[in-house]
């Protein structure tokens, strides 16, 4: 049986009902992983032995007649910046190449307590800095729809794993689009939850006021199930909000009925309309808008001029400043890479950090150091935190009138591996559609609208499967509206179809 094609809820139900065992599911998903991995390189670590042991425990619990959790026997993959007790956790960096955390991240504790089984740790841009997975010290990951292209990043390994059906669920982290952009490039669902909804305890920090963990799935019910478990107040994370628990367990409605978006107020961003989009993405915007209108949604426009002009600069100023502070801890003394050839304490720090960090990380550390120096701090870092207030207020005002914004995830489809621009700033500009969401702590859901051909998108892709690249769009809502975004996407899925398992030569 092809267990790897099943969804989270199907596997858990089957294991609980003793239709098949957790071990059989794990072994088959592992076979699938091994068969694809030589082409994709989506994982840094495969946890075959510990995963089998976890699967056996689930099966033993069931044999004893114990009540099993919501994820009984479901194989999952974690981005390699989430701590796993005794299992190497690298953040895609040489500096943590052999680090084994002595504790579990809260998200993994929550998933494993529901019976999830860890299959592996996913490749990622080093310390989550990048949007291709190409800055990983472990080499790039390929896009499972076209092996010559990037899967997006920084959670590219997690997205590629779910798209290629290693597992039905993976977790990523999103600081400026690192869940939504790879989900879009790989043709699956990716949710960046409201900041404060999911615990960041045990997540290796990049930009602490922006980082948020969220799930990748090929199925919306699976995503709701994952969020039901992950949205949990955690005393170990002081940014986790106590009132944040949202009921994701509510049913989403009739899968086969007509699209019903009556009463939903959805907006386009007026200030984004002059920016150029690749034709398949522009077409997808028009098409999804039509589906929304036909489903009874009220469509309007909102204006976000400060976001459009200042969000990119504001984001990178804050992210670099926070990164420089967070990455100061890697000094070769307490954990991670160490050297034996230093001649002084300062020399040791420099050798460890210079050998341990890649060039993108070094650039951002230098930028953050520069912006937070006393002579420049007020002019740049503090100014950025004030601009951020304006950006959040602008979103706040927009969401007084609408329930969600429909917008692109990226202006273009995934580029070829190694094709990234010499000028990193141009890459940064392409993040305009994702990073404002993190600035204001909003939820954002990336969903697949169909697949592109050279001549444009193919409508109704379930009946006309192609090997073209997936085309994703994004729904953004006010804080704590995560479930509403899933509900809207559920209605859209009736016309757009569910994401398919990638078949780009894997």
């Amino acid at each position: 049986m092809e267990f790897h094609a099943l969804g989270v809820h199907e596997i858990a139900a089957g294991v609980r009902a003793k239709k098949f065992t957790a071990l059989d599911v794990f072994n088959e998903c592992l076979d699938r992983t091994i068969a694809c991995e030589s082409k994709l390189s989506a994982l840094i670590t495969v946890t075959a032995d510990s995963g089998r042991a976890q699967a056996r425990e689930v099966d033993a619990g069931i044999a004893r007649g114990e009540e099993m959790g919501l994820l009984a026997g479901v194989p999952v993959i974690l981005k390699d910046n989430m701590c796993t007790h005794g299992i190497r956790t690298t953040a895609g960096s040489r500096i943590l190449g052999y680090w084994s955390p002595p504790y579990d991240a809260t998200v993994w504790r929550l998933l494993s307590s529901e019976g999830a089984v860890l299959l592996g740790k996913a490749n990622m841009d080093e310390f989550a800095m990048g949007n291709t997975t190409g800055t990983s010290a472990f080499g790039p990951t390929a896009n499972p729809w076209d092996l010559s292209r990037v899967p997006g990043g920084s959670s590219g390994g997690s997205a590629a794993s779910v798209a290629a059906a290693y597992t039905p669920l993976a977790l990523g982290s999103d600081t400026g689009g690192s869940i939504r952009q790879p989900a879009s490039y790989c043709g699956i669902y990716g949710l960046k939850p409201t900041y404060g909804l999911v615990s960041r305890y045990g997540l290796i920090a990049y930009g602490s006021s922006l980082d948020q963990i969220g799930p990748f799935t090929r199925d919306l019910e699976d995503m709701a199930l994952a969020m039901q478990i992950l949205a949990h107040h955690d005393l170990k994370d002081s940014t986790s909000v106590a009132k944040g628990n949202i009921d994701f367990s509510l049913p989403m409605g009739d899968k086969n009925g007509n699209v019903n978006l009556k009463g939903k107020r959805i907006a386009l961003v007026k200030d984004f309309q002059d920016f150029t989009l690749d034709p398949p993405i522009a077409d997808a915007m028009r098409r999804v808008l039509r589906v929304m209108e036909e489903g009874g949604a009220e469509i309007s426009e909102v204006s976000l001029p400060t976001v459009a002009r200042y969000a990119v600069a504001c984001y990178y100023a804050i992210a670099a400043s926070e990164a420089h502070t967070n990455l100061a801890r890697y000094d070769g003394v307490r954990y991670g890479l160490m050297v034996n050839t230093a001649t002084s304490l300062k020399d040791m720090f420099e050798q460890v950090r210079s050998q341990g960090f890649g060039s993108e990380v070094k650039s951002r550390i230098i930028a953050g150091t520069c912006l937070t120096e006393p002579v420049r701090s007020e002019e740049y870092y503090v100014a950025a935190t004030r601009v951020r207030t304006l950006i959040a207020a602008e979103f706040g005002k927009a969401f007084e009138k609408v329930d969600a914004i429909l917008q692109p995830v990226t202006p273009s489809l995934p580029e070829k591996i190694g094709e990234s621009d010499e000028d990193a700033m141009k890459g940064y500009e392409s993040d305009l559609y994702t990073l404002p969401v993190n600035m204001a702590g909003l939820p954002g859901l990336s969903f697949c609208t169909g697949y592109a051909r050279d001549s444009g998108p193919v409508p109704g892709f379930p009946s006309e499967p192609t090997s073209g690249l997936p085309v994703g769009l994004q729904l953004v809502g006010p804080r704590w509206s995560d479930k509403n975004l899933l509900d809207i996407a559920f209605e859209l899925q009736k016309v757009l179809g569910a994401p398919q398992i990638a078949r780009g030569g894997i």
Partner: protein, 111 residues
């Protein structure tokens, strides 16, 4: 104001990074492009705008500061490259009377 190689080298030094010549050229270009980007803030009047914070609740989010037993204390000491039984193995940095420092990874420092 554009930063030159010496400025960027000084910033890198502060961040405890040593750069190769090629990395330095890239870093100078990067940081100057970066500053040009954030110079946009000067178009805005920010003097009455508060710095951003997520102020949704008046409840202090900090938990009580009470000691607790870490259930896996031995795991903290179990890191592969540093494991010396019940000790951390760390580089020894010794400064002699004239300020010369010596680093050696051979001896173990007691916890």
């Amino acid at each position: 104001m554009k930063l030159g190689e010496d400025d960027v080298r000084a910033i890198a030094d502060e961040a405890r990074l040593s750069l190769t010549d090629a990395e330095l050229v890239g870093a100078v270009r990067y940081i100057n492009n970066f500053l040009e980007m954030v110079d946009r803030f000067k178009e805005l009047d920010l003097k009455d705008v508060e710095p951003f914070c997520f102020a949704e609740t008046n409840v202090c989010p900090l938990r009580k500061d009470v000691p607790a037993v870490f259930p896996d204390a031995k795991d903290i000491l179990a890191e592969r490259t540093r494991d010396m039984g019940s000790f951390f193995k760390v580089p020894r940095i010794v400064e002699d009377a004239v300020g010369n420092r010596d680093v050696s990874c051979e001896p173990a420092m007691g916890a």
